[in-house]
Amino acid sequence: MEMYRSHVLVCAGAGCISSDCKSVQSALREHIEKTGLENEVKVVETGCMGPCDLGPVIMIFPDGVFYRKLKPEDAVEIVNEHLIKGKVVTRLLHRPVGSEERVADFGQLEFFKRQTRIALRNTGIINPESVEEYIARDGYRALGKVLSQMTPQQVIDTVKESGLRGRGGAGFPTGMKWEFTARANGDTKYVVCNADEGDPGAFMDRSILEGDPHSVLEAMAICGYAIRASRGYIYVRAEYPLAVDRLETAINKAREYGLLGENIFGTGFNFDIETRVGAGAFVCGEETALLASIEGQRGEPRPKPPFPAQEGLWGKPTVINNVETWANIPPIILNGAGWFASIGTEKSKGTKVFALAGKVNNTGLVEVPMGTTLREIIFDIGGGIPGGKKFKAVQTGGPSGGCIPEEYLDTPVDYDSLTKLGTIMGSGGMIIVDEDTCMVDLAKFFLEFVQEESCGKCAPCRIGTKRMLEILQRITSGDGRQGDIELLEELSRGIKSSALCGLGQTAPNPVLSTLRYFRHEYEAHINDKKCPAGACQALLTYYINPETCRGCGLCSKECPAGAITGEKKKPHVIDPAKCIKCGSCKQKCKFGSIITV
């Protein structure tokens, strides 16, 4: 490695790649070479920096200037002004929502300032394809430490004392999982990484794999030492090709350096890791289905117990943790259990990565201490709701979770507070919805997802969710019947208590939680045949405001049902009997005269 006076970090997370960071990067490189700066300035491709909606984004060090929404043509100005003359290119800086001024220093942006990055400590800062950059930031020191200075039991005790709980959803104490597996009978044991991230709107695991793959490899090797396993598997979905690629590169580099393989650190400890690419079935995120899939069986769950700690992969005791959980392990070993336990709340230690999606200004990835309020995450870091709309609810935990309405925005987020509100932490997806979202429709969306992804092994999930979906479909299309709400509740109770795995047991949650907080919306759909949010097409009535209609006739030409009539230059009228509520007239009208109620 060489010394440079400036590093230009170009985000190459999947979000920025889709906004074409690659051509920005090559334009920067090209112009840096043209101006003869290639020995002074280094361009580094990193993983996800977090503010995905601002992509392509770059950071320039040593000053830490953050540029956003770049186009290849901006490269010339950045090189000529910033890199040569030291002048910040103001027009390319980010202006936070509600602020008059553009901010140069990334550390001064609320989005970054309020974060505490443990799992994401390297993501967006290092080149994920360079093991050297990982090592420069204390990479593999934790592995070196446990192998040369700690007993397996001490490692387990450290993880237990840290209070780390599983980041995949259920929040089971990680140290206990390790201890159960270590104590289980048998000589052959396995370490598995669950990288089958499937919740709609959650992408923290992908970002860690893409941005800091070595942190997962190191943590798995540490666990291997603690439970006396010599082989690990990473089960990652095929929809994450970049993550698979970078994992493979990382595994090969780690082997080259002798950080995986035989006799690691000269201690006689052997450990190696392989990836297994899943075909993208949501149910394979469930641990027993995932293990079956690694074995080459159908990805279907089985009853627990026995838990994987007793009988896991190929019937052998197995530790299975999620990507984000793994990424927390090396810092815990290096900084101590006490350090980690000092962050967060009483029963939820450390930080949590949240993926902000939906109706929020700063969609992207953020990591905050447990106990941070929803308001701070959504409004201070997330920048609030776009377009001056009103916040309505946030869905946490994906299809297994539930929604939280406005009155609970000041709740400190941890495993237990979310459970109390009728939802779950889940993997950390946060889908924010505004006043235009119909909560019945939202519940229907998740039920559709679950119905599609149900593996079909058990009847409650296969048939029960189908019946629930049918009820939701008829409610949203205006055919809701009296007693539908009660029927939904009854079905939910039945499915929750009798489904085989977590997928089915949690599938009714979106319905139950929207019923808990937005029952009136269900009632309006059923009793009044109205959608209060104005989202369910079938329940809308279209009419033309005679005061603003200019009689241009565009709508009547557009209407496929011939429902609109009127004389030229005089207000037009929609015949409700003919109207099929397709909404095409509303899109066409230039005067906003077509109104829905």
Partner: protein, 119 residues
């Protein structure tokens, strides 16, 4: 990798290059890079400084640029900032730049003769 010591040695070497991303430096050298500075050869000064910083293995120094500071006749011009202490060197050439790194940054003595314009 045969031992933790070996890893630590490697890390220390690699950190030299990576420290720049921590925004955690003790000294900043800021070279004036207005049109006047560039015309007077400031680009070469930056290269010389970087070379010497590498030579000396200094990784706690930020080498940055700024625009014209209004003393165009004294370009190339650079400023060394350590905490609240600021020193401006004027009419710097490549050799002087290297000497400033050795004297001011390594030894800690300000080269007073070069801080004021020559009479």
């Amino acid at each position: 990798m045969k031992s933790l010591e070996e890893l630590d040695k490697l890390r220390d070497r690699l950190q030299q290059e990576m420290k720049i991303r921590d925004k955690d430096y003790d000294v900043a050298i800021t070279v004036s890079m207005g049109t006047c500075g560039i015309a007077a050869g400031a680009r070469e000064i930056v290269k010389a400084l970087l070379e010497e910083l590498k030579q000396q293995g200094l990784n706690n120094v930020a080498l940055t640029q700024t625009s014209c500071v209004g003393l165009c006749q004294h370009e190339p011009l650079l400023e060394v900032t350590r905490g609240s202490e600021k020193t401006t060197y004027v009419n710097v050439d490549q050799e002087m730049a290297k000497e400033i790194v050795r004297k001011h940054l390594v030894e800690g003595t300000i080269v007073k003769d070069w801080t004021a314009p020559k009479k």
